[in-house]
Structure formats: C-alpha cells, structure tokens
C-alpha cells in the first residue's frame, strides 16, 4: 500500500512551461490522469519515474523523498511504467523482453511465461518484439513493468491499439492489480475506461492541475469540458 505525492512540480523546456506547479496525491487503487494533448501528462510520468529532473518541486513515495534518485533506484523502490511511444526492446523476443526485467528473481523463465499469459500475449512469446502489433507491444510493456513487482504502476495510454474485447480484458486486469494493493496511474484518452475503472481522477490542462476528484465530480466539472472542447 503506497502513496505517491507530487509536490509543486514544475518542468520548463526553455521558454515553455510543460508542467506548472502541479501537486497531487496518488493513493492505492486506480487513478486516472487525463487532459488534452500537451497537458503535461507524459512529462509528469517522466518526472515520477525519474527520467526527467523537474525544474522545481519534489516527489515522495511513502513520505521518502525520491526526487534525486535515478530511474533504476526508483524502480527498486517499486515504481514501474510503460511508454506512450513504445520502448520495447525490438531486437529481443517478446519473452526475452520480460525476462530482462526479472533476472534477479528465482525461476525467471517460468515467471516470464506466466506474465505473458496474464496480460494475454503468450502467443507472441517467441516473436521478435519489433514485429508484434501495437496492442500486443503495449501489453508487453505492461507485462515487463509487472515483472518488477511494482507498488506504483504508471501506464501511459495503455489501451490505444487494443480492440473493444481486449480493452475490457485490460479493464479487468486493472481491477486485479488494484486488488493486489498496487497503485495504478492511468494516462488515457478512452473515457469509458477512465470513468469505468478509476477510483480517482486528476485533470491536467496546459501544465496545470485543473481539478481532482471522483469520476462523477470530474464529469460534472465545467472547466474539464471546456478544456477538451477548447
């Protein structure tokens, strides 16, 4: 059961402020992080996972300040993520992709196979990863992230590339992960998925936090509709 706090995080790229003084809390369960393109969602993920240093602000996990830790150190504390623009290891097979992430564990070969079955892409196990369809590659990133047995899982647009049935299966998987006590953060454009499965939703717009609350609160919020419709 882990709690992530983002406190006053600002990220500037030269003149542009991509994330502007954002503070939010992620509790166990499924949390949605939504907003129009360019709202700063992926940049915030980069900051939380340690791939980007914020210009100011801090990130804590269970009250420990992790702002100065590198990505691999955060991973060992239980932070894992997937990527909006896929980052699978294209030269390795699907199975090897997962294996890389769990080789410090016992019986890694079997665990890797089980994880592929769990996300539903066991059929691609032997294929080279840069040849599988986008949807399967996204699920592969999920399996690979799960291989680190994370307490905090950051999923960046996991459902794009999935069809309706696959999306439903993915939704059930989200509930399972949440039931296992993991905190899952979902960046998503599929509103049915967000409203259907999230316990809590944060809305970003132009780098600022617009509103936080339950799906119902967010749905009723005037500013959210404006932000999306422009």
């Amino acid at each position: 059961m882990s709690t992530l706090r983002v406190e006053g995080v600002t990220v500037r790229f030269g003149e542009v402020t991509a994330v502007d003084d954002v503070s939010l809390v992620v509790e166990p369960g499924v949390t949605g992080l939504i907003g129009p393109n360019g709202a700063g969602k992926t940049t915030l993920f980069d900051v939380i996972s340690g791939l980007r240093k914020p210009s100011s602000g801090r990130v804590t996990l269970d009250d420990a300040d992790i702002t100065s830790l590198g990505p691999h150190q955060r991973s060992r504390l239980g932070v894992a993520r997937t990527f909006q623009r896929l980052e699978v290891f294209g030269s390795l097979t699907v199975w090897e992709n997962v294996l890389v992430a769990l080789e410090s564990r016992r019986r890694p070969a079997k665990l890797a196979q089980e994880l592929l079955e769990r996300v539903g892409i066991a059929e691609f196990a032997g294929n080279q990863a840069d040849t599988v369809p986008t949807g399967a590659a996204r699920l592969l990133e999920l399996a690979r992230a799960l291989a680190t047995d994370p307490v905090l899982l950051l999923l960046d647009e996991p459902s794009s590339g999935l069809d309706r049935a696959e999306t439903d299966a993915f939704g059930s998987l989200l509930q399972e992960l949440s039931a296992e006590g993991r905190s899952v953060v979902l960046v998503e454009h599929d509103m049915d998925l967000v409203m259907g499965y999230c316990d809590h939703v944060h809305v970003l717009n132009l780098g600022r936090l617009l509103v936080s609350g339950t799906p119902d609160v967010v749905r009723a919020h005037e500013g959210v509709r404006e932000a999306y419709l422009g």
């Binding site: 791939l51 691999h72 896929l86 980052e87 294209g90 030269s91």
Partner: protein, 605 residues
C-alpha cells in the same frame, strides 16, 4: 613579456586555423546531423591538391587557393553528400560514424596513391609581408590566417542568422519533412552545407600546412583538435566553437612555451588536444535517456549451444587439417589472422551486440601486448594478466565517459586512444627507449602458434556466444534498444556498460598478448592510433554481429598488408577500396558473412 606576447600571437593564429576547420564541422553537423569524422581527411587531401597546383604546377598561390577552396573542395563535399551521407539520413550514430571512418580511410588511400611519400614544402602566404607588434613579428601568413578566421566567423554567422537559406537550414535539422512542406528542399540545403563544410576543411588544412607539414595521417588526425573545439560549442554554437578553437590554440602554444622539455612533458604536450577532448566530454551535461519509438536490429541468428559445438568442432578440424598441409610461413599468417579474429570478437561483443562504436579498440590490444612484453615471458598466466590490465583500462574509460553516449562516447574512445598513444604506447614508458621489445614465444613452431591461436579463438568465440545467449547479453541488447526502459526496470545502465567495456577490452588485451608472442618483437609502430580505424572498418565489412564475421574479418585484416607488399601499386588502392566498401556497407552491420548465412537458409528452405 615579449615571449608571452609571441606565444599568444602564435596560439591565436593556430587557434584561428582550428576555428575555420571546426566551423565547417559544426555547420555540416548542425544541418545534416551527420558528424563527419572524415572532415580532417578532406582538409588533408585538399591541402595536397593545393601543393600540387601551387608548388608542383607553379600556379599563383591565390589562383591555386581559389581553385581548391572555391571549386574542388565544394564539389567534393557535394559528391560525398550525394552518394554516401544522404543515404544515411536518420541512420543510427554508429552507422554514420562507420561511413565517416570509411571516407577518412579511403581519402588517405587516395592521397597515398596520387602523392607518394616525399617532402613537400609549402610556401606560406604573403611571406614578404609582416608586422612587428612590440618585439614580436607577425608574419603575413599569420595575418592571412587570422583574417580568414574572422571572415569565416562573420560569414557563417550572417549565413545562419541573417539569410533565408540559413533559417531554412536550421529548420531542416529539427524537422526535415515539415520544412519540405513549406517549400524548402532539405537535400539541397544539406548539399550546400557539405559544400561549405568541405571548403572550410580545405581552407583550414591549407592554412595549417606551413605549421604541421603535409602528411596523410597527422593532418587527418589533427582535426581531433577541431572536434574538441566543436564539442566546446556542443556541435551547435558557432561562437563557442570559435572560442574553444582559440582557447585550444593558446593552451597548446603556452604548453610549448612553459612546460619543461623532459621526455614525459614532450609526449604530454602532444597529448594535450586529446586530453582537452576528454575534459570537454567530462564537462558535458548528462545526456538524457532517449525516449520515443521502438528500435530493433535484425542480427544474424544466434546459434544455440549444439550448433555452436558443431561449428567449433568443424572449425577445429579444419584448422588441424590446414596445420598439417601448409608450410610454416602460411601457418604463421593464419595464426595472425586468428589473433586478429580474436580482436574482432571483442568488437562483436561491444559494437555488434552492445551497439557501442569504439574508435580505440586497437589500443587495448596494445595494452595487452605491452603487458606481456614487459612481463618478459609468454605463459597462460602472463596472457591472463595482459587481459586483466586491458580490462582495467577499459573500465577506466567506461567510468570516465559514463555521462555521455552515442556519438560523444565514440569520440571519447578516440580521444582516449590518442591519449594512450601519446602518453603510453608511443612514449618510452611502453616499449623503452629503443621503441621495441622482445617476447619469447609460448610455442616455438609456427604450426604450434596456429593451433594455439585457434584454440583461444574457439574458446573466446564460444564465450562470446554464451554471453549473447545469457543474462548479460540480453541486458546489453536491451540497453542498446532502449536505455530509458532498462532504467525504469531497475537495471543500472551505466554498470552494464562498464562491464561490457571491460569484458571487450579483456578479449582485445588477450589478443594483444598472443600477438606479442607470435611476432616475437613488438614495437610502438605496431600500435599506432591510426590502426584503430581499419580495424573498425574490417569488422563492419565482414560482419560485426557474428563469430563467423570476426573470423572473416581477421583473415581480411591479415591479407591486407600481404597484398599490399605483394602488389605495391595496389597498396593505396586497397585502402581506397576498404574505405569505399565500408561507406557503402555501413548500412548493414551484419556484413559480408550474413550474405553467406542468407544463401545457406535459402538453400535449406
């Protein structure tokens, strides 16, 4: 005071010439995103051409300068851009680097064919002019150099910041497709930047000739200084590049003036450009882990344990059969080919699997050879010590270059190789004052040497394949494909790289020990900095992703000097062919052997 002024002026003049060269490098890089390793070689060939016109054919200096800088060099830049670099747009750094090294080596071959070695004095410009500043004399040539530097600085600034063409050039770097939509023509702009870049390389080369003399390799590698200056400007900023070039010129000049002239400090002076390159790289900001898009490479199939065993058995059988058939001269040559093959196996690991281009791999061979030679006896233990020392040196370079990756890492290996070359391998530290050491052989007969080399090759080959199939191999490839994802999975990307570097250096060092005892006499001249470059090219041409490729590359490396001494007329041509082949084949690092693999799989299909 007078001396200080004189050395300052000398430093500024040299720095001015560096600035001209470095300015061209930054221009081509910032508009085509290809770092031209061959930039210095272009300057070298054009300086030779200038000598041909101005000194050999007796053209007036100004006309020769105009023809070379204004016509020949730009045309040459256009040709390189059109036939080599354009095909590589968007290719990974490793591939463009190899193509650049191919151009470099090819140009050295061209120069050797057209202008065989001899002394070629070049008259300075305006040698009857000159001014006195205080008690220091500034020659006409110095004034011309400074004027050129100022003109080039001003010209490039105006071009990039004040003209439509310059604006379009800068736009094309960021988004060539988008710029094309707005009516610019990325190809044309890239061609223009290569033309100007080559002209500046030529101008810088010609200005430097009275100082450094016309020489194929010295002039080509002189641009390491220009690389350093360009890196001060992060390969983008022209003002910083110029400042860096002037600073380098001054540091070098003051070093000549004020450092003691004991043998160590003399070699230290020569190492200053490389040392500064290293310092600049260390001062670079941590390169961010690249995110965005799937990368994968299609290697040749990795044999499983059974196939490896069968392959090793067949190879061993073939070597034993050969050992019985051939005379001792050929056996010695085959042994050398296998030793080179082991060096290339170290590159299969580092470059083929790990995706790291090393421009200094032969340095580790030198380290292993010197260690064994210094130990004075060739035994399995001393070979092992040689490998360990090389591994330690490899770890050192990986640790110092931890912050940088890709192009900068490759340049760091080059800087490191030059540092080792000047400070250790070419100085009395390594081979003593006579410049050579005797090493007793482990086994006396040439046949024995062949079997020894074959045994080590088989063991290392099996080891490399085992690494590839195992945990470290998967990790190396994962780091190559996406270091960002690796980091978020808890892998320490830097330590993996240190491991790979050390392991690869250890293999190269082991080969160095074998080389030393096979040759019986090893000398500083065996490990010149330049030898690194053909090594990389042969690795890529033969195939840097497989053990068979390493074997083929080893044979080719052994054959090159044999062919060159057998057909002296062919010597330079062979080097040209090597460069051209590498530039052409750079796209496919699986190399020539992969054609064989493909033919085999078709036959079976």
């Amino acid at each position: 005071m007078t001396a200080l002024l004189a050395y300052t002026i000398f430093g500024l003049v040299t720095g001015g010439a560096y600035a001209v060269v470095a300015g061209g490098l930054v221009l081509t890089y910032s508009t085509s995103k290809v770092f031209n390793v061959g930039h210095g070689a272009i300057g070298m060939v054009m300086a030779f051409l200038y000598w041909e016109l101005a000194e050999n054919r007796g053209l007036p200096q100004w006309l020769a300068l105009l023809l070379v800088v204004g016509v020949c060099a730009p045309l040459f830049g256009l040709v390189i851009e059109r036939f080599i670099m354009r095909r590589l747009a968007g290719a990974p750094v490793g591939i463009t680097l190899v193509a650049g090294v191919g151009v470099l080596v090819g140009l050295i071959g061209v120069a050797q064919v057209i202008w065989p070695p001899q002394a070629r004095p070049v008259r300075p410009f305006l040698d009857q002019l000159g001014v006195h500043i205080g008690q220091s004399f500034v020659s006409g040539h110095d004034l011309v150099t400074l004027a050129c530097a100022v003109l080039v600085a001003g010209g490039l600034y105006v071009l990039l910041n004040r003209t439509r063409t310059g604006l379009a050039m800068r736009a094309c770097v960021d988004a060539p497709e988008l710029a094309a939509l707005y009516g610019t023509r990325p190809h044309r702009l890239s061609a223009l930047s290569w033309a100007i870049g080559s002209a500046l390389a030529a101008l810088g080369g010609i200005l430097l000739t009275p100082v450094v003399q016309l020489d194929y390799v010295t002039m080509t590698l002189l641009v390491i200084t220009a690389y350093t200056a360009a890196l001060v400007g992060r390969l983008r900023s022209l003002p910083w590049t110029f400042a860096g070039a002037l600073g380098l010129g001054l540091v070098q000049s003051y070093a000549v003036a004020y450092l003691p002239s004991s043998p160590f400090w003399i070699s230290f002076r020569a190492a200053i450009p490389a040392l500064l390159l290293f310092v600049v790289l260390l001062a670079m900001p941590q390169s961010p882990l690249r995110i965005g898009g799937v990368r994968g490479t299609r290697g040749v199939a990795v044999p499983n344990a059974l196939t490896t065993g069968v392959g090793a058995g067949l190879f061993a059988g073939a070597v034993v059969a050969l050992a019985l058939l051939v005379d001792s001269v050929v056996a010695g040559q085959l042994a050398l080919a296998l030793v080179f093959g082991i060096v290339l196996l170290s590159m299969v690991l580092l470059t083929g699997y790990g995706g790291v281009v090393s421009l200094g791999q032969f340095t580790f061979v030198g380290v292993g050879a010197v260690t064994v030679a210094r130990l004075g006896s060739a035994s399995p233990l001393s070979l092992l010590i040689g490998a360990v020392v090389a591994a330690a040196v490899g770890a050192l370079i990986a640790l110092t270059a931890l912050r940088v990756s890709g192009l900068y890492l490759a340049l760091a290996t080059l800087g490191f190789a030059q540092l080792m070359d000047k400070l250790v391998l070419q100085s009395p530290v390594a081979f003593g004052v006579r410049g050579s050491l005797q090493v007793p052989r482990m086994v006396e007969s040439a046949t024995g040497q062949l079997l020894l080399a074959a045994g080590v090759f088989v063991l290392v080959g099996i080891g490399v394949l085992a690494v590839r199939r195992g945990r470290l191999g998967r990790r190396m490839i994962a780091v190559k494909d996406s270091s960002a994802a690796c980091a978020t999975l808890g892998l320490n990307v830097r330590w993996i790289r240190v491991w790979v570097f050390s392991l690869s250096a250890a293999i190269a060092g082991l080969a160095g020990g074998l080389f030393a005892q096979l040759r019986e006499t090893v000398a500083a001249s065996d490990f010149q900095l330049f030898n690194n470059l053909p090594l990389l090219l042969f690795a890529v041409i033969a195939g840097v992703t497989s053990v068979s490729g390493a074997l083929l590359g080893g044979v080719l490396l052994m054959l090159l000097p044999v062919l060159q001494s057998g057909f002296p007329a062919f010597a330079g041509v062979a080097v040209v062919l090597l460069g051209v082949a590498a530039a052409g084949l750079a796209r496919d690092p699986n190399g020539l052997v992969s054609w064989g693999f493909r033919a085999w799989s078709w036959r079976r299909a």
